[in-house]
Amino acid sequence: MGQEVDLSGVNMRFGEVYAVRDINVHIQAGEFFSFLGPSGCGKTTLLRLISGFMDPSEGQIKIGGKDMRGIGPNHRPTAMIFQNLALFPLMTVEKNIGFGLEVRRVPNAKRKKKVEELIELVDLNGTGDRMVSELSGGQMQRVAIARALAVNPAVLLLDEPLSALDLRLRNHMRAELRKIQRRTNVTFIYITHDQTEALTMSDRVGVMSIGKLEQVAKPDIIYNTPKTSFVASFVGESNIIQGDIISIDGDYAVLKTATGSFVCKNPQHMETGETATVFIRPETVFLAKGPDAENLLTCRTKTISFEGAYAVVTLETEQRQIFTMRLNNDGSVPRIEEGEHIKVRFNRKNAFLLKNGGTAIA
């Protein structure tokens, strides 16, 4: 059974540099929680803090309600799956999986039974006496999962374990991980820089940037209502335009930009006169029918890349602003050629106005 993990005011300093800064998050028992962020954002440090390889400079980490300060990784109810898996190459699959039980002096018969159960759980039947070096990438992955689950952890920590796999296998393992998590009900804390991975697998996602937690929410909320510029730009694609707020209208504001004025959602309740950035997802941009609608852009199509289910169209406005649009291949859209002049628009509820700064380089 999983246990809850509670981080409050967690700071980790290396000299003068903060690797992790003021992290407050409560992860529920049995939850699949992902920390998502670019490399160097402090997510690995966070994982090492939870697993006990380091103690935070300030703040408290509680697992199952118990303060973990001073408790080493070998005495915490956590198990970690390493980025490079860190399987023991000189041992067989069985020995690898049984390692944690062996060092806990679990009797032979009991250990054997548990190892067999785990081999079954992760679909590795028949590989027990093979050396790990003889296995395929996906199989090694499974050994690493089984080895970590063998010690009955309350919390499983996963450090981008899928990054070395090819795309097909990665997709497969995602579903597999989710399945194993559901079956075992262990709390999974997953770190990744891959947004698809985080969004598809997790119950909740915490987006991190330079040591700070920017937003914690369910995947669809992260995607649809990003709280900061960083989240909006790091998760998913966005058209980004900067400008000045010239008027407020309830939850909406009008942003004056070099490309024209746009009515956008104003979740941060910014005031008239502030500079701001608007984020518009390509899939919320569509071809304009009438001439006098709001949020209208006149552009020339630069490139069209056909992906099958949809096409990505790159547009350029008269003011040289680049804009992308994603058109579903559902037969409702007229054929567009490169170089054609078209009018596109987006709904005010699909455009987010956020404070400037801290955008991720996509």
Partner: protein, 297 residues
Amino acid sequence: MRDFWNTALKDLGKIGIAYILITVGVWVVFMILIPQLIMFDYSLRPMLPLREIGGPKDVWTLKNYMVFFSNRLHMAIFFKTIWSSLIVTLTALAICYPIAFYLAKVAKGAKVGLLMIGLIIPYWINELLRLFAWQIILADMGILNQLLIFLGIIVDPINFRMGNGAVILGMTYAYILFMVFPIYNVMESLDRNQLDAARDLGASWLRIHYKIVMPHAKPGIAVGCTMTFMLAAGTVAAPQLLGSPSSFWFTQVINTNFECANWNLGAAYATVLMLLCVIFMFIMLKLFKVGLKELTQ
């Protein structure tokens, strides 16, 4: 084999291949084979006055070897040399394993460099001088005794050079590098994450070393032990300079034979010592389940 020649020809050219074959060939034939065969030949012939060499009495015989096996004192010295060399080897291993682990997996940046230099600096000085230094340290009124007396730990100087102690100490010191470097080399290639993984799974440090580090370092340990043992069993300087009458080394017996102009007996004794070293090496390989190929890596 054919592929091997083709790639070699492409990479090195005919002149390159010829150069390598000739240099290696000269080395193997003149530096290894011929001297060993001459020594072996010597060991099988009786010692004769000059004019009888090549005469009817100059035939192959095992007499020299019989002398060794019938001389109880020499046999005793031989086995004592093995025993003492084993102690030197184990002492060096016990000292060097932690040093190698610290160098390879714990120390970072400048510390590694400093410690490396610290290990290497003594080797800039000639081995004999290093042993003389130990002589000065361990002498009856030497530095160590004076220090101990000054600190009030002892009243009368201790004769450190009684028995084997001084020789074993001096040798362990002299051969530390030969133990540290092979172990350090293999430990370097050990993935740190494996240590973390083992720890995360609940293993104590002792277990991590026993289960993860030592199995990984096996080839290095085997090489280090083999080299240290061979050097210890084969040296004549350390027992000569630091030894006492009771620490007589087998190499000193060989040396005496040559000094007494009985080259044939000396050659037989040297052959026995060489056989011992070869046997020791194979025992180490067996013990550590390491192949000859791994040993050279």
